[in-house]
Amino acid sequence: MQDDRTARFERLVMPHLDAAYNLARWLTRRPQDAEDVAHDAMVRAFAALEQFRGGDARCWLLQIVRNCAYTSGRRNRRGGEPIGDEAAELPGREPDPAEQFADADERAGEAARLHAAIAALPGEFRETLVLREMEGLSYQEISQVVGVPIGTVMSRLARARGRLVEALRRREADGVRGGGR
């Protein structure tokens, strides 16, 4: 029966490892934490695979990822603040001279600004935005993964987007003032 479960896991859950890692990356502070969270979530999903009775395996998995991220956050933190209120340490993008695109510097600058702006969002806004814009989850699915009513999803999304637009405008202005790159 181990083989059946392994085969089922490979077919249903493994394809969503990227999604698991991406969400973990945006919910944790360091790449190593994200890897650990994603790995632990996958192992938990494997152990609980019998409980998955069909439907959207990705949503099911992302719920587990989220739980792992918040549990590990509480373990690593003494102060008891909810994880993600501080900006996650995410890799900045330095312009790369070896980059093949002609407009490398400009693209790197834009991506870095976007990256930093998303990282600076409060945790609950950030996770909602990531689930919507990077994973393409519906409001219903986000509501299921995060465990809040759809109305709350909508308002968090609106506020996340509002902050992002503001932050991008501000950073762009800063970039111009600083002479740009």
Partner: protein
């Protein structure tokens, strides 16, 4: 509807989450109200910015290996292309270190490549959801290939693979990763294989690799300054066969039977 009623619904409207009736009401208001139109557009701007950047982090190969080991999965044979890419990435990382640039660039290029594969899958899934797989329906490449003249500024490679088990269904024009592309549809048993093609601009080397994204397999390769991306929800073996068939077939189908 007025602005006060519309404003809280703009996000859901831009996300396609409103029921038809409310969506039409919002649309009517947005047509007349510049402020609300701008607010809806800013939602799309955020979406485009995120979709076109490399902020999506794909699982690094060492994480994939670690997970597979933990759940008892064998190393899959068909992962060979990815492993080759991985050792190429290692070699690149070593030389990048020598330049003092660092490991992160390799990881981020990997993320960019995964986002590319995702864009290919998204284009295919969109076409199936809107029931818009083909605009020219023909299994004859002599009908499909000239159809693209005047619709694309290049002439795509259209091959007859019926002899290899992949009959041509037709074609359409699509837009993938900021490229106007020819999208050919082939049948693979009960599934469809979508083949996207576009010419590589000067300076870009294109993308080569194999991925699985949300249940769809993707294979990308370049030949003669053309980018090819094939995707399908058929078995990975079937997609591999398709790619081999396409690669080995010259434009004119052989009259003798070829062994697969």
């Amino acid at each position: 509807m007025n602005c006060q009623e519309t404003e809280p619904l703009l996000g859901a409207y831009a996300d396609g989450e409103l029921d038809l009736i409310r969506s039409l009401d919002v649309e009517r208001h947005v047509e007349e109200c510049a402020a609300c139109a701008a607010a809806a557009e800013s939602v799309r701007t955020v979406r485009r910015a995120i979709a076109s950047s490399d902020v999506y982090a794909a699982a690094p190969p060492r994480l994939v290996e670690r997970v597979r080991e933990s759940v008892g999965l064998q190393k899959p044979v068909v992962r060979r292309p990815s492993r080759r890419l991985w050792s190429m990435a290692m070699a690149a990382a070593v030389s990048l270190f020598a330049l003092g640039v660092g490991w992160q660039m390799v990881a981020e290029r990997s993320a960019a490549r995964t986002a590319f594969a995702h864009a290919v899958v998204a284009a295919h899934v969109r076409s199936m959801m809107t029931d818009h797989l083909i605009d020219v329906a023909s299994s004859d490449r002599h009908t499909v290939k000239p159809w693209f003249a005047g619709r694309l500024n290049f002439s795509p490679e259209v091959k007859d693979l019926a002899g290899r088990g992949f009959p041509l269904i037709g074609g359409r024009v699509d837009y993938v990763d900021d490229h106007p592309a020819a999208a050919l549809s082939y049948r693979a048993g009960a599934h469809t294989v979508a083949l996207f093609e576009w010419p590589l601009g000067g300076g870009t080397s294109g993308v080569t690799g194999a991925w699985t994204d949300r249940g769809y397999h993707v294979r990308c390769w370049t030949v003669d300054r053309m980018q090819f991306c094939a995707t399908s929800d058929a078995q990975e073996e079937a997609l591999r066969s398709f790619v081999e068939a396409f690669g080995s077939m010259t434009a004119a189908p052989a009259t003798t039977n070829q062994s697969p």
